[in-house]
């Protein structure tokens, strides 16, 4: 079942939590709603569930308009951050609860519960009460309860946020496995970019209630549509340098006296733009070949990566470098980047101008030039 959102808007008093979102979630797809807290991703999920009703716009499940339909009639399954299991019921009865509400005959219901419990691997815990389970187990029960009535759509509201780091990784893979095994359409809300990028077929990035970009995960990372998308994704975060035009193809980096030359391009009518440089795309080079240079003010090695912070004027730039390099704090260092790895943004609108592995860069150029 495809889920279609049409100009979906939600206002609370004066604030617009969700601002005119239009998109389609395809059948069997796992879509992540990603964004910082307060960006409207959870509200969007609540609108999909029917627990909130939108102030404007429509929601379609397949061809059916469900905008004003109540949650209990939508045929959805939902998993919450704090699991929301019924504390007074055993695991078996928790999973069976939606079936009981549908008045499914008990024998049949128990059989369906057993099937679901096997799928999420908790069939040995059916007699326990939720309080006697670990966080991971509770979340498995919650998933089983959400899926047992064979919903058309599965909604997950930050389901991993209450779990510890290792369990989170494990449950992340589990959710993906279960989702694909059942073949259900799923929407997954998270503020964790790694989670979103690893689990989903498609990521919808939101900020201030507005859908910023929707793409396959890798594509969103490689080709951010605007400054927000570029800065939200990536760890360590992307570097931004603001460039001002001086003459022809020479630009000065704002906050420092360094200038750099860019190859001539059609769209360089802009007086100023922002250049986004991913730390992992930068590499050290001899002084004269560098795009810019600065003093290393900080160095740290985490696992296999060595991160340096470079000071050029008032600006700092982060770069991931070869751990075997003999750089030390206080050294001068020059960095370079392959031209196609640079992302260019309009500093006024925040929109992408070009860069990265741009196939349709030209089209973008015409639009913005």
């Amino acid at each position: 079942m495809d889920v279609h959102l049409d100009q979906l808007t939600m206002q609370f008093n004066d604030t617009t939590a969700v601002d005119s979102i239009t998109t389609t979630i395809k059948d069997g797809e796992l879509v992540s709603l990603l964004g910082p807290s307060g960006c409207g991703k959870s509200t969007t999920l609540m609108l999909l569930s029917g627990l909130y009703k939108p102030t404007a716009g429509d929601i379609y499940f397949g061809d059916e308009k469900v905008t004003t339909m109540d949650a209990e009639k939508r045929g959805i399954g939902m998993v919450f951050q704090n699991y929301a299991l019924y504390p007074h019921l055993s695991v078996l009865k928790n999973i069976m609860f939606p079936l009981k509400m549908q008045k499914v005959p008990k024998k049949e219901a128990i059989q369906q519960v057993m099937e679901m419990a096997k799928l999420v691997q908790i069939d040995h815990l059916l007699d326990r009460k939720p309080a006697q389970l670990s966080g991971g187990q509770q979340q498995r029960v919650a998933i089983a309860r959400a899926l047992v009535k064979k919903p058309k759509l599965l909604l997950l509201d930050e389901p991993l946020s209450n779990l510890d780091a290792r369990l989170r990784l494990e449950m992340r893979e589990e959710i993906r496995r279960i989702q694909q095994e059942v073949g259900i359409t799923a929407v997954f809300v998270t503020h964790d970019q790694e989670e979103a990028l690893s689990i989903s077929d498609r990521v919808m990035l939101m900020n201030n209630g507005v859908l910023q970009q929707e793409n396959a995960p890798q594509q969103m990372y490689r080709k951010p549509e605007n400054i927000f998308a570029a800065s939200f994704l990536g760890n360590p975060p992307i570097n931004f340098l603001t460039l001002h035009k001086t003459e022809n193809n020479t630009y000065v980096i704002q906050g420092s006296s360094q200038t750099l030359e860019l190859p001539s391009m059609k769209w360089q009518t802009h007086e100023a733009f922002q250049m986004g440089l991913r730390p992992e795309d930068l590499y050290t080079v001899p002084e004269e070949e560098g795009l810019f240079s600065g003093e290393i003010i900080h160095m740290e090695t985490i696992g296999r990566d060595t991160l340096i912070r470079l000071q050029l004027g008032d600006v700092t730039v982060r770069a991931l470098v070869d751990p075997k390099s003999r750089l030390r704090v206080g050294d001068r260092c020059s960095l370079a980047i392959e031209p196609q790895e640079v992302h260019y943004f309009d500093p006024k609108t925040g929109e992408r101008l070009r860069g990265g592995n741009d196939n349709d860069a030209q089209a973008n150029l015409e639009k913005h030039a």
């Binding site: 949650a71 209990e72 919450f80 704090n82 309860r145 009535k149």
Partner: protein, 273 residues
């Protein structure tokens, strides 16, 4: 050393309190077994020279206590069930549903808790007599089927239940009412038991109200029935105490079995029941 000292102080104080609380019970029991001449004896007789079990059979013969017992049972059971129903519904509304004037109505309700019960006796009586209910079971039951204290207690409990639980229940196909019945009520069981117990005790012991609104003997409850021992010739204390013992025993048993809930309930609300 210091903690042992303060602990023993606490126990001594508690023991003194317990003695004062238990003394009337002991006196009641001992009087109920005394011969008439020992009742008023000076110095007081604590242990009857002879255990007069006949007092109990004699007391039962003085008035139709079987009838009073049935009346007490009917009034207690129905008003308790009634109070539970109104409490559950009202507490749910005040904790989960948004409606116009909710906070004001709740504040007014809480305000009524400040009014002493005695002040309400006459207005309530007038209302009931206008309804033509004086000397009926309704008069004994209906005014006691709601309690602000109970609503407040349960509302606090309901407020502590996470919102996600109601979301989950809705998604699972529960209407508002089914969520209340299948999730909230089972969850609130400890609080509800507390409410019910306090109600049962109050209702069983109620004296003034049944005395005022009933005239006929068929409608008397046990506490009122005890007045049968007050005659023109004086009070037959040994029989009165025997009957009182029988009246109190069911409540004592209930208290001993359920004291955990009663104490928890009073502690939870920080208010006396």
């Amino acid at each position: 050393m210091r903690s042992a000292l303060s602990k023993s102080t606490i126990y001594i104080l508690l023991a003194i309190g317990a003695v004062f609380m238990l003394l009337p019970f002991v006196w009641m029991l001992s009087t109920s077994l005394k011969a008439p001449n020992e009742v008023m004896a000076m110095p007081p007789v604590w242990i009857p020279s002879e255990l007069n079990w006949d007092n109990f059979t004699e007391a039962l013969a003085v008035a139709p206590f079987d009838r009073y017992f049935v009346n007490s049972l009917i009034v207690t059971v129905i008003s308790t069930i009634g109070e539970l129903v109104t409490t559950i519904l009202a507490a749910y509304a005040f904790s989960r549903i948004n409606f116009f004037g909710k906070n004001i109505i709740f504040a007014v309700l809480l305000g009524t808790m400040m009014v002493p019960g005695e002040v309400l006796l006459i207005p309530n009586f007038v209302t009931l007599s206008n309804l033509g209910w004086i000397d009926t079971y309704q008069a004994l039951i209906v005014p006691w089927t709601a309690s602000v204290f109970a609503i407040f207690l349960l509302r606090q409990f309901f407020l502590g239940v996470p919102k996600e639980l109601s979301f989950a229940a809705k998604v699972d196909g529960c209407s508002e009412f089914r969520f209340l019945w299948y999730v909230m009520v089972p969850l609130a069981k400890p609080a509800l038991i507390t409410v019910a117990l306090l109600k049962i005790i109050n209702s069983w012991n109620a004296f003034l109200w049944p005395l005022i609104v009933t005239n006929s003997q068929e409608l008397r409850t046990l506490p009122v029935g005890l007045s049968a021992f007050t005659t023109e010739a004086g009070i037959k204390y040994e029989l009165l105490m025997a009957a009182s013992t029988m009246v109190v025993v069911p409540m004592l048993i209930l208290f001993f079995i359920m004291q955990k809930y009663i104490i928890a309930g009073v502690a939870r609300s920080g208010l006396k029941g």
